[in-house]
C-alpha cells in the first residue's frame, strides 16, 4: 500500500550521506585469506574515505591463538600489502587500529560467544558503538549455522526492533550459499529460526563491482540503450567469466563443487539477471531484487537431454598459460585422475518473457583460459537491408555493446564505419570508454561498497533467499542430468579459449564467441 506520509521537505536536495552509523564489525574467520586480502583492506579504505564513524570497532574471531597486538600487527601488514591505496596512511590506520581486537575460540564453543559478547559490550561502553553489530562470516559453509546459533544463544542476534535508529544486528554470509536447492532451502529455513530475512546479507562480491552496478546505470540512466534492449533489436547476448588461473590448490573443494556451482550459480546468473531484468520501480532493495527474481523464474529450465544439447562442460588439460606450462586438472593435487568435474561450462539459455523471448543468452565460465576476462556483450541484429552488401560487407559483424567487467573495465560500442577513400568499404570500429582514463586507476573495491552497504543496512546488492533458491532451481537439473546421463567432459588445452564443443554450441545457430 502506498504511504500517505508526505516526504520530508528538508531532505530535498540533500545528498545521500554514505557513512556508516556507530557499530562494531565482527569477522569470523579472521585468520583467513579473505580477511587479510579483502576485508581489512576494504575497512581501511573506508576509513580513509571517512565512511566509518569514529569509535568503529573491528573484532576478529578465529581458532588460532593470537593477542590483540599480534592481530593488529598482522592486519597492518595485510593492509600495507593489499590496500588499493598505498602507502599506508598512518592517521587512518591509527584510528582504525584503535578499535581492532581479537577473540580466540572455536566456533562450536559457547565460551567463544560469551567472550565476544563481553568484548562487544565493552566496546559499546568505551567506544560508543551503540549496541549495533555486523557479523561477517568469512568461514566455510559448515560453520555458518553453528556461528549463527552461538551468537543467538548469547543474545547477540536480537530481531529488528522496528525503531528507525535503533541498534541492529546483521549477518553477512559468503558464498557458496548451499550446494544445491535442498541445502540452500534448508539453510534459509534454519537461518530464519534465528534471524529475520532483513538481517541476512548473502554476499556475491560481483554485485559490488563498479562495472556491474554500472550496467544498471547504463540501462536505466540513459534513454538510448533501453529502447534497443529487447528481442526486436538484440540478436543474442554473451556473458563470459574467464580466468587464467587454475584451482590454486583447492582440489578437494573443486572436486565437490565444479565451476557451475562455484561461479555460474552465483556470479554469472547475477550478471544475467542484471542484463535481462525489467526496470525496477525504484532503486530500493526489494524493487530491484523482485525484478531479478522474475528473470530467474523466466529462465527456461534445462532438463534431461536438453542439457546435452544446450550445455557444454569441459575440463582443462595440460597446456601453456601466459608462457608457462600448466598441468591438466587431473594432474592437480587432491584431484581424482579420472575426475569428470568441470572447470569450464558454456550454456545456451532462453528467457521466456515478453522482452527476451527467442533471444539466446550464451554464458561461459572457465579456468585456465588464455586470459582473465569478465564481460557482457549485447549483440544487435543486422540492418534489415544490406545496402553495402557483397564484397564490401566481408568481415563485418553486427553492432555490439561490450561491457567489460574486469580487467580493463569499461564499455565499448562497436559499429561499422566507412574506410576513407573513393569506394564504400566498411570496417568495424569501436567507441571505447575506459574507467581508468575517465576516473583514474583507483576505483573502490567491491568489498568496500558491500561492507559499507551492510553497515548502512542497504541490502540492494545482496542476494535474497528466493533469489538464491531460484538460482539453484535452474542449476540443479543440469548437474543432475550430467550425472544421470554420464555426460561427456570435453577436454581443452590450458591457455586456450575452451573446448571446441563450446564453439559448436554457437555455430549451430550462426554465431561465434567473442574473443575478449
Amino acid at each position: 500500500m502506498p504511504s500517505t506520509v508526505p516526504s520530508n521537505p528538508l531532505r530535498e536536495g540533500t545528498p545521500d550521506e554514505r557513512t556508516a552509523p556507530p557499530c562494531s564489525f565482527v569477522v569470523f574467520g579472521a585468520s583467513g585469506d579473505l580477511t587479510r586480502r579483502k576485508l581489512l583492506p576494504a575497512l581501511y579504505n573506508l576509513a580513509l574515505s571517512h565512511a566509518l564513524p569514529r569509535g568503529f570497532t573491528t573484532l576478529g574471531v578465529a581458532r588460532r591463538p593470537k593477542t590483540d597486538d599480534s592481530f593488529v600487527e598482522e592486519m597492518r601488514d595485510a593492509v600495507s600489502k593489499y590496500s588499493r591505496r598505498k602507502p599506508l596512511d598512518e592517521n587512518a590506520w591509527s584510528e582504525l587500529s584503535k578499535g581492532l581486537g581479537y577473540v580466540q575460540g572455536s566456533f562450536e564453543a559457547a565460551g567463544t560467544y560469551r567472550d565476544l559478547k563481553a568484548r562487544l559490550e565493552r566496546s559499546d561502553a568505551e567506544r560508543a558503538t551503540a549496541g549495533s553489530r555486523v557479523f561477517y562470516l568469512a568461514v566455510s559453509p559448515a560453520d555458518v549455522l553453528p556461528i549463527v546459533r552461538g551468537l543467538s544463544e548469547v543474545g547477540l542476534l536480537p530481531r529488528p526492533s522496528g525503531e528507525p535508529n535503533g541498534p541492529f544486528a546483521r549477518v553477512v554470509i559468503e558464498k557458496p550459499f548451499g550446494e544445491d536447492l535442498a541445502s540452500a532451502t534448508a539453510l534459509n529455513r534454519e537461518l530464519n529460526r534465528y534471524l529475520d530475512e532483513s538481517q541476512i546479507y548473502r554476499i556475491d562480491h560481483y554485485l559490488g563491482k563498479e562495472t556491474v552496478q554500472n550496467i544498471i546505470v547504463l540501462r536505466f540512466g540513459n534513454a538510448i540503450f533501453e529502447a534497443l534492449w529487447n528481442r526486436s533489436h538484440v540478436s543474442h547476448v554473451e556473458i563470459t567469466v574467464a580466468e587464467d588461473i587454475g584451482i590454486e590448490g583447492r582440489g578437494k573443494f573443486y572436486e565437490k563443487v565444479g565451476i557451475t556451482r562455484d561461479i555460474v550459480q552465483n556470479h554469472l546468473l547475477q550478471l544475467l539477471t542484471i542484463v535481462a531484468m525489467e526496470p525496477p520501480v525504484a532503486m530500493d532493495p526489494d524493487a530491484v531484487r523482485d525484478e531479478k527474481v522474475k528473470v530467474l523464474r523466466a529462465i527456461r529450465r534445462l532438463e534431461g537431454r536438453e542439457v546435452l544439447t544446450n550445455v557444454v562442460r569441459g575440463q582443462y588439460a595440460r597446456g601453456v598459460v601466459r608462457g608457462d606450462v600448466a598441468p591438466g586438472y587431473r594432474q592437480e593435487p587432491d584431484v581424482d585422475p579420472e575426475s569428470s568435474t568441470e572447470t569450464y561450462v558454456a550454456m545456451r539459455i532462453l528467457i521466456d518473457n515478453w522482452r527476451w523471448s527467442g533471444v539466446p543468452f550464451y554464458i561461459r565460465a572457465g579456468k585456465r583460459m588464455y586470459k582473465r576476462a569478465a564481460e557482457v556483450a549485447v549483440h544487435f541484429r543486422s540492418p534489415p537491408l544490406s545496402l553495402f552488401g557483397g564484397a564490401m560487407a566481408q568481415g563485418r559483424g553486427p553492432n555490439s555493446l561490450v561491457m567489460r567487467v574486469q580487467p580493463d573495465e569499461g564499455i565499448a560500442l562497436r559499429f561499422d564505419t566507412k574506410v576513407p577513400g573513393a569506394g564504400m568499404g566498411m570496417r568495424e570500429v569501436s567507441m571505447d570508454f575506459r574507467y581508468g582514463t575517465a576516473f583514474g586507476p583507483s576505483s573502490p573495491e567491491a568489498y568496500e561498497r558491500l561492507i559499507l552497504d551492510a553497515l548502512r543496512g542497504d541490502p540492494t546488492l545482496f542476494t535474497r533467499s528466493d533469489e538464491v533458491e531460484a538460482q539453484w532451481r535452474f542449476i540443479d537439473p543440469i548437474v543432475a542430468a550430467w550425472k544421470q546421463m554420464d555426460a561427456p567432459v570435453a577436454l581443452y588445452e590450458a591457455g586456450t579459449h575452451g573446448p571446441r564443443e563450446a564453439d559448436a554450441l554457437l555455430e549451430r545457430h550462426g554465431y561465434h564467441w567473442r574473443q575478449p
Binding site: 528538508l10 540533500t14 550521506e17 569514529r54 582514463t437 575517465a438 586507476p441
Partner: protein
C-alpha cells in the same frame, strides 16, 4: 614541467599547446600514456595566496582527474606578461600511465581581461568546466571564466555570502558553496529529526529556532547562521520578516533567536548549537544539536511526545578544503536546494545593506 614567460598572449598560448603536445608524444621505449580527464578545473587565486592555492591544487590533483588550471595574478610580472607552466601528473595503470595535465597561468595586471580567452581555448572539449574561486577575483576575470562554467565552487566563509549570491545571480552554473557543504552534517541531523514518519508533519510546524555561534566581527549574523535560516525558510516556505521572526502561511509566526558565545580559540562565527521547537496540535518536538567547532563532533538530543528522548553523538573531523572541493568536482550535482537557500540567506536579516566583501581568512 616547463615554464615560459611571454609578453604576447598568443605566443604563450602556443607554447602551452606545444608543451601539452609534447606530453602526449609517444615516448619510444616508454610506457604508453593515456589522458584522464573528467573535467576542466580552473582554480583562481591571487598572487599573494598563490602558495596556499598551489598546495590545494597539489592535493586536488591526487584525487581529481581533470585538466587543472591555476590562474593567479602576479603583481611582479610586467603588466602585459603571462607566465605559464605545464606539467602532468601520472599514475601507473598496469603497463601504462594515466596522466592528467596541469597548466599554471600567472597573469600580469593588464592581461587579466584576456585570461579567460586563454583558458577557454585550452579547455578540453566534451567535459564540464568547474571554476573554483579561492577568493574574490577581479570581476572582469570572474565573469568571463564563469560564463561557460558548468559549476562554480566558492566559499562564503571566505568571500562572503553576499558576494556568493551576487555571483550566483550572474550565472546559470551550478553553485557549490563550501561553507554550505560544511553545514551538511548539521543539515542532515535537522532533516533526520523529521525522517521519523511519526514526526514528519511537525516539520511544517516549527515555532522557534535558536542558533548560537561564536562572536563575529562587528556583531553581524554569522554566515552559517544565515545559511541555516535561509535553508529552512526556502524549504519550508517561510517569509523572513525580521532578524528575529519569520512567517509561515499555515502556522503563523516563527521566533528566530541568534545567540552568541565568546569566540575563545575558535574562528569568528563558528556554529555552536542549533535548537528548534515544533508544535503540531498538542504534540511537541524539541531538537538540540550542539557542535564542537574544533573536533566537528555533534551531540544531538531529540525529544518528542509519544516518541521519547533520543540522544546520539556523531564524531567527525572538520573536512579539509581539498576534500570538499574534490566532492564538489567529482560528485553528481544533487543539491538543488543550494541556490534557493543562498538567495533566501542573502535576504536575511531582511533590510540589511548588502555589501559584498572579500575579507578572506585562511583556507581551511
Amino acid at each position: 614541467l616547463t615554464s615560459h614567460e611571454s609578453g604576447k598572449l598568443s605566443e604563450a598560448l602556443s607554447h602551452v599547446e606545444h608543451e601539452l603536445a609534447a606530453i602526449w608524444a609517444p615516448d619510444e621505449g616508454g610506457p604508453p600514456k593515456a589522458r584522464v580527464c573528467t573535467a576542466n578545473l580552473v582554480v583562481v587565486a591571487s598572487g599573494s595566496r598563490r602558495a596556499g592555492a598551489v598546495a590545494l591544487v597539489d592535493q586536488l590533483q591526487t584525487a581529481d582527474v581533470a585538466r587543472t588550471f591555476l590562474v593567479s595574478l602576479d603583481p611582479k610580472l610586467p603588466p602585459w606578461a603571462m607566465s605559464t607552466e605545464v606539467s602532468a601528473r601520472c599514475q601507473k595503470d598496469g603497463e601504462g600511465l594515466l596522466c592528467s595535465e596541469r597548466i599554471d597561468l600567472s597573469l600580469g595586471a593588464a592581461t587579466v581581461p584576456r585570461a579567460a580567452s586563454v583558458v577557454s581555448s585550452l579547455c578540453v572539449a566534451e567535459v564540464p568546466t568547474v571554476v573554483l574561486l579561492l577568493e574574490a577575483a577581479p570581476a572582469i576575470l570572474t565573469a568571463a571564466l564563469i560564463r561557460d562554467a558548468a559549476r562554480l565552487v566558492v566559499d562564503s566563509d571566505i568571500i562572503g555570502l553576499d558576494a556568493v549570491t551576487a555571483l550566483a545571480r550572474g550565472t546559470h552554473a551550478h553553485i557549490v558553496d563550501l561553507a554550505w557543504e560544511r553545514l551538511l552534517p548539521i543539515r542532515n541531523q535537522i532533516a533526520a529529526c523529521f525522517d521519523d514518519e511519526r514526526l514528519r508533519a511537525s516539520v511544517t510546524a516549527i515555532r522557534k529556532l535558536t542558533i548560537t555561534t561564536t562572536t563575529t566581527e562587528g556583531g553581524a549574523p554569522a554566515p552559517h547562521a544565515r545559511l541555516l535560516v535561509g535553508w529552512l525558510a526556502s524549504r519550508l516556505g517561510w517569509r523572513l520578516v525580521s532578524e528575529t521572526s519569520a512567517f509561515d502561511p499555515l502556522h503563523g509566526a516563527i521566533e528566530i533567536e541568534l545567540a552568541w558565545v565568546l569566540r575563545g580559540e575558535h574562528r569568528p562565527g563558528a556554529l555552536v548549537s542549533v535548537e528548534l521547537e515544533a508544535l503540531l496540535g498538542d504534540a511537541s518536538v524539541h531538537l538540540a544539536i550542539s557542535c564542537d567547532p574544533a573536533s566537528g563532533t555533534l551531540h544531538v538530543v531529540r525529544s518528542a511526545e509519544g516518541v521519547g528522548v533520543e540522544t546520539s553523538t556523531l564524531t567527525g573531523a572538520p573536512q579539509p578544503a581539498s576534500e570538499l572541493v574534490d566532492r564538489a568536482v567529482a560528485e553528481p550535482l544533487r543539491d538543488a536546494a543550494t541556490r534557493q537557500a543562498l538567495f533566501a540567506a542573502a535576504g536575511y536579516p531582511p533590510g540589511q545593506v548588502v555589501v559584498p566583501h572579500a575579507s578572506a581568512s585562511t583556507i581551511h
